[in-house]
């Protein structure tokens, strides 16, 4: 017992010691939630301390809500550190603005916004508001930690619900939890004290995955339609019912489809044809109104506008396939390059995107309906290698979406330098790109102007003292997720001059920008593999005039990937072959020092693998 007390004193002291380092501190946060006449009422109060001028922006507070919600900001005041009130904000200082999410044209969401600030530090702001909603899928998604560099002293969530109101919940063990029955209600309480904010790190988990989160969802809900989140099947069925009746195509569209597929018998060819029709004639625009966040616009809307969001375009694609008797599945997914892992133990709305799966001949063709550049069957970095919810009338279920594979290099580039004695001249690079490199280059090719493509190419090849003259893409719009690119450059100083010697080096591999191993606090996640194969050819000219020293080859194989670099002289041409593969995977903190060494050594190869030409 004594040991425990000592331990908690030590931990508390460490916490107190730490808090001084933070520019802002959440002194107290209190959230109370209860049900009243089928409406969910949330009462929130927060006391935040600002220690430094750099932290002023933490007082910028937004209370987000949807049209129809009832939000009342009861008080916002500024206090000194002793609790003396310095100022109370006036009503007109709390503004209501639209809150249109990035990438959307419009959504009927709003934010109550205020930014109380003081000129002397430290100061505190206290605010209190209530937020009442009628239709909801969540009781709350709560974290005791405020985003940013803010230390949390005390945060509490209390939810009071009737005993006969079933819920599902998920929360980490690190939070104190209690459950008390009072008369015909149950009070659930979560409490957290003395928490430092987690740090976002290069190739680390996304913030939402590392913050402690309490998720509480009602088993039964009404959101457009009455539904259940008891199981994934229940939730998928609700989505299925939401989508029902939305796939009716106008006659003119049916005729168009008939023309498009006339003479085609291979279902894969039909899918490709209709997908290409979707890509070439429709575009992504998000307008989310009322329950539009989860209910697609009907297929007829897309036919009329020729635009829609992921749900509308996917539903439209599904409608087209349905018309030609090819079954497909609406699949909900959490999209993003670095996704938040699904909490499989708690079913319900954890998704931000929709794709379509078309099962054909025991295989599935995946369709990303918001992309006008991906070929059919290619999921890409946005949705690969994660779980998705397949929506079905009776058998909705979680499925695994396939990962990207590096069967071929993600970038295979051949650099042919033709330079004179001074290292100036021309360079031609021939590149074949797959996976993430294909996606990016192909997106630019398809959706931007030559000027933007040139900027992208300049970033893609991090070469010094070069200027891009022209570029050409080959085999665009192929059904293969692969693209070829030829670029021509003017070059200067393509070797280092050290005294009277010329030093040639490999081309730098792309940088992962990892933290020093002593600083790392999070595991590393490489969501997809990277494979860079460079063949670099320098015309050296009169090699007889030089003693040329070529280092021995480098061969490294690790659990994280492999590196090989070698060079040879062939008929006056210096040929460097360099290949780095970085495997996809999640690597623990324990593995980090070795991973860090592997990556940094590979990044330093362009400085360490030196081919020295000394005049005779």
């Amino acid at each position: 017992m004594k040991v425990r007390i000592y331990l908690s004193i030590i931990i508390f002291s460490i916490s107190l010691g730490l808090q001084g380092q933070f520019p802002a501190e959440l002194i107290e946060s209190n959230t109370e939630i209860f049900l009243k006449k089928n409406k969910l009422k949330k009462k929130v109060s927060k006391l935040l301390q600002i220690n430094h001028t750099d932290a002023d922006d933490y007082t910028n507070t937004g209370i987000y809500f949807s049209k129809g919600d009832d939000v009342k900001v009861n008080v916002v005041r500024i206090e000194d550190i002793k609790g003396n009130v310095l100022r109370v904000l006036k009503k007109k200082e709390i503004q209501t603005q639209s809150s249109v999410i990035r990438g959307a044209l419009y959504s009927d969401d709003f934010v109550k916004f205020f930014q109380p600030k003081w000129h002397q530090y430290p100061y505190r702001i206290y605010y209190e508001y209530t937020h009442t909603v009628e239709d909801f899928l969540f009781i709350d998604r709560w974290s005791p930690i405020k985003q940013g560099d803010v230390f949390t002293h005390s945060a509490r969530l209390s939810i009071t619900l009737p005993k006969d109101y079933p819920i599902n919940m998920s929360f980490p063990d690190s939070l104190e939890f209690s459950k008390t029955e009072i008369a015909d209600e149950i009070n659930y309480v979560w409490q957290a004290n003395h928490l430092s904010p987690p740090k976002l790190e290069a190739h680390g988990p996304p913030l939402r995955s590392i913050l402690p989160f309490v998720w509480v969802v009602p088993e039964k809900f009404k959101y457009g339609l009455i539904g259940s989140q008891k199981t994934w099947n229940d939730y998928g069925q609700w989505q299925y019912r939401m989508n029902e009746g939305l796939r009716t195509l106008p006659g003119s569209e049916k005729r168009k489809i008939d023309q498009l597929v006339a003479g085609l018998e291979d279902p894969k060819e039909i899918v490709s044809t209709l997908y290409r029709y979707l890509q070439e004639n429709h575009r992504y625009i998000l307008v989310a109104i009322e329950i539009g966040g989860l209910k697609p616009y009907p297929a007829s809307y897309v036919c009329e506008k020729r635009y829609g969001d992921c749900k509308a375009l996917t539903n439209f694609m599904q409608a087209m396939l349905e018309y030609v008797n090819i079954p497909s599945f609406y699949v909900k997914v959490y999209a993003g390059d670095n996704p938040v892992a699904l909490k499989t133990e708690i079913s319900g709305q954890q998704f931000n995107h929709v794709i379509l799966g078309v099962p054909i001949d025991g295989d599935t063709i995946w369709l990303e309906n918001t992309s006008n550049s991906n070929p059919p069957g290619y999921l890409g970095t946005f949705t690969q290698n994660r779980k998705g919810l397949l929506v079905d009338a009776n058998h909705s279920r979680l499925i695994d979406l396939p990962p990207l594979q590096a069967d071929e290099p993600t970038q295979h580039s051949i650099f042919n330098f033709k330079t004179g004695e001074a290292g100036s001249g021309s360079l031609m690079i021939t590149t074949t790109a797959t996976n993430q490199d294909f996606e990016s280059l192909n997106y630019y090719r398809k959706n931007t102007t030559p000027l933007k493509i040139k900027k992208r190419i300049n970033r893609y090849f991090p070469l010094k003292n070069t200027s891009l003259i022209d570029y050409k893409f080959h085999q665009p719009d192929s059904l293969e997720p692969k693209i070829q690119l030829t670029t021509n450059w003017n070059t200067k100083q393509q070797f280092q001059k050290i005294g009277n010697r010329k030093v040639y080096t490999p081309i730098p591999f792309s940088s992962f920008e990892l933290e020093k191993s002593t600083k790392r606090t999070q595991p590393v996640i490489f969501n997809y593999p990277t494979s860079e194969l460079f063949e670099v050819n320098y015309e050296l000219g009169n090699v007889k005039n030089y003693n040329i020293e070529i280092p021995p080859p480098i061969e490294i194989n690790t659990a994280f990937g492999s590196l090989s670099v070698s060079a040879l002289l062939d008929d006056g041409i210096l040929k460097i072959r360099q290949h780095r593969i970085v495997n996809a995977g999640k690597f623990s903190l324990k593995e980090y020092p070795n991973l860090y060494d592997f990556i940094t050594n590979s990044e330093k190869v362009s400085k360490k693998f030196l081919i020295v030409c000394t005049p005779k």
Partner: protein, 657 residues
């Protein structure tokens, strides 16, 4: 090159008409198959889309309660590729002053045209699908998307905007970020309001005509008159594409700005608004939110002087500095620009926070209360366009700073920024010239661009140990003026986070890192530390980059030519001084040649000296001007090319044989 030209026309009095060039027909719903088949804009093959025509028509409409401005915008655009599809998303900003005074979007019509089976297919936009995005209490964005738009489409839209703000006749931009084939603006004026306008960025219109309306006269407020319609047009305007190191797109876009100059009331009385700078100064001096705000601030300012500043025997300069420092620490800038105050002095003192005008005008009151000669100076910030001194347009200005006159000399200051010295302006205020608002007979213009160079001095000591993989270095960097200001902003005072940045990018270890003078903007901002970097080695030789990673690694001027001036804000001097201790048993194997370039644009040099066992390397990279004419671009680029090469040269030490 002179960038703007005035067409100072009192529209009401101009009856003569002048016609030159050709006015283009701009009908809606008229699209040909040939237009739809166009794949490229021949005058600009890089364009993602081009404007076929863009017309603005401003008229004064009679409503029950008087006149309103009606602005009709019609635009027709050819989409050439997927990047151009974004032009089908249209945003119309709507301004609301208060419940009774607000702009309204009255009508929207829009169409897209596509070629389907060699026939023109027209799709009509449904006006119900205009969405309101509330930006803040003053601005709402009306947004709509034209349907059925893809590569090759032609889109057109027309909207009608009603405005009660006679002060602000809608401005017109002839040039856009995509090429414009034809742009036309017409305004039908009435006898009650007179405007003057200025064409910026071009010497003249391609077409100009003024005509009196035919037919029966109109009657408003019991006065009969014929509208007088002026039409101006331009054709073949190139796309405006950004270049680096420019002040603002608004300085270079071809556009037309308006300003109300006179109100003629039905009873015959007239109010002259602003026809010259003196009128503007007079109006601002008595403006409730400007000159009168300073007057209203006098009493609370006097109280502050008594209670918080209690001067005894300070000199005028000391008092001034104390007051500016007081204002900077007492009031928090809310990041809003403005030339007019937004709250009462009482509210400012209670909130301790305000916009630029709230803080700077109140600071003027404080200075005046202390007997110091202080005046407001209105300016246009970077990004807001240059002020054209020849033409008295209030809309040029969006910010107010402070002029303080001493017996000898004067300073300009901005009390909203704590990171800049009291007698300096932050970069946002550096944009040519400002107008002093005072009662003097002749107007006084002040240049905001500093002559004082920003200086960065880097001192490095290298102590190589041939037995070690790392090279021990000591680094001290001092930055003054704008460079110091930017480093204070970027680095802050948190040495730990700076250490992390340095470790991530350039150094293997860092010790004893110190940041000095963060809170003393009058003194250089200093960062110092000891650390290690990779010791470059080649066989038995030790290789050194004397200035580490600090010089530019490659030429930042990449384009072959340049259209716009190169704007560095101020002259910029960068100085390096490195000492390398030669380890025992080693000697110099290679020392680069020194470089010297000195002309009216730059002073660039490197030098190498050996004394006993220490090599001293110095380097200076001095840009003598803050603003370079584009004609010097190629020369400047060539100079930088040489500097990059010289500053990255390496020194080699070898074992004594």
């Amino acid at each position: 090159m002179k960038l703007s030209y005035l067409f100072f026309i009192l529209l009401f009095f101009l009856f003569s008409s002048s016609v030159f060039g050709q006015r283009m027909e701009t009908p809606m719903k008229k699209v040909s198959i040939a237009d739809l088949k166009i794949k490229e804009y021949l005058k600009d093959p890089l364009a993602e889309a081009y404007v076929i025509f863009d017309t603005g028509n401003t008229i004064f409409r009679k409503r029950d309660d008087g006149l309103v401005i009606e602005h009709i915008r019609t635009s027709k655009i050819k989409i050439l590729n997927n990047d151009g599809v974004k032009h089908a998303e249209v945003v119309v900003p709507i301004y609301t002053a208060d419940k009774n005074r607000r702009e309204k979007l009255l009508r929207v019509e829009a169409y897209s045209y596509n070629l389907e089976n060699e026939k023109i297919a027209m799709t009509t936009f449904d006006e119900k699908e205009v969405y309101d995005e509330i930006i803040n209490e003053y601005w709402t964005h009306k947004k709509f998307v034209i349907p059925n738009v893809k590569e090759g489409s032609i889109i057109e839209y027309r909207y009608v905007l009603e405005s009660p703000f006679f002060f602000n006749l809608p401005d017109w931009s002839f040039q856009q970020k995509i090429p414009v084939s034809y742009s036309e603006y017409s305004v039908s004026s009435v006898p009650f309001y007179e405007y003057q306008f200025i064409l910026k960025g071009a010497p003249d219109f391609d077409y100009r005509d003024t005509k009196k309306a035919r037919g029966l006269p109109r009657s408003v407020y019991g006065i009969e008159f014929h509208d007088l319609t002026t039409v101006v047009a331009m054709k073949d305007l190139p796309a405006f594409r950004d270049e680096s190191y420019i002040s603002s797109i608004d300085d270079y876009l071809v556009r037309l700005d308006f300003q109300l100059s006179r109100i003629n009331r039905p009873d015959g009385s007239r109010t002259k608004i602003m026809t010259n700078w003196k009128d503007l100064r007079t109006e601002y001096l008595s403006h409730a939110e400007f000159g009168n705000y300073i007057k209203k601030s006098r009493k609370p300012a006097e109280k502050i002087l008594e209670s918080s500043l209690a001067f005894t025997d300070e000199t005028e300069t000391e008092k001034t500095l104390k007051i500016i420092e007081f204002a900077k620490s007492e009031f928090k800038w809310n990041n809003f620009y403005g030339k007019f105050s937004t709250q009462s002095p009482k509210s400012l003192l209670s909130k301790k926070s305000g916009n630029v005008a709230d803080i700077n005008l109140f600071t003027i009151a404080l200075l005046r209360a202390a007997g110091i000669d202080a005046n407001p100076v209105i300016i246009s910030t970077r990004g807001h366009g240059k002020v054209e001194v020849s033409y008295p347009f209030a809309s040029f200005f969006n910010y107010v700073i402070i002029q303080i006159k001493f017996e000898k000399g004067m300073i300009l200051t901005d009390a909203t920024d704590r990171l800049i010295a009291a007698d300096r302006l932050p970069p946002r205020c550096i944009n040519d010239k400002g107008l002093v608002i005072n009662k003097a007979d002749t107007e006084e213009w002040l240049f905001t661009n500093p002559d004082i160079p920003s200086k960065t001095k880097t001192m490095i000591k290298m102590s190589p140990d041939p037995e070690k993989e790392d090279l021990a270095v000591q680094v001290i960097r001092q930055k003054t003026e704008i460079d110091g200001y930017r480093s204070r902003q970027r680095t802050g005072e948190n040495s730990e986070s700076l250490k992390e940045q340095l470790l991530e990018n350039h150094f293997n270890s860092i010790e004893g890192i110190k940041i000095k003078n963060y809170h003393k903007p009058r003194t250089p901002f200093v960062v110092g530390f000891q650390g290690t970097v990779d010791q470059e080695k080649l066989n038995e030789q030790l290789i050194f980059s004397p200035f580490l990673h600090y010089p530019p690694a490659e030429n930042y001027f990449k384009e072959p030519n340049r259209t716009y001036p190169i704007d560095f804000l101020s002259p910029n001097f960068e100085n390096f001084n490195t000492e390398i201790t030669i380890p025992d048993g080693y000697e110099v194997a290679y020392m680069p040649e020194p470089l010297t370039i000195d002309d009216k644009l730059v002073a660039i040099n490197t030098d190498y000296q050996i004394r006993e066992n220490v090599i001293t390397v110095t380097g200076n990279l001095n840009f003598k001007l803050g603003l370079y004419n584009p004609k010097y671009y190629r020369l400047l680029k060539a100079h930088v090319e040489k500097a990059v090469s010289a500053f990255n040269e390496k020194i080699i030490l070898q074992k004594i044989k």
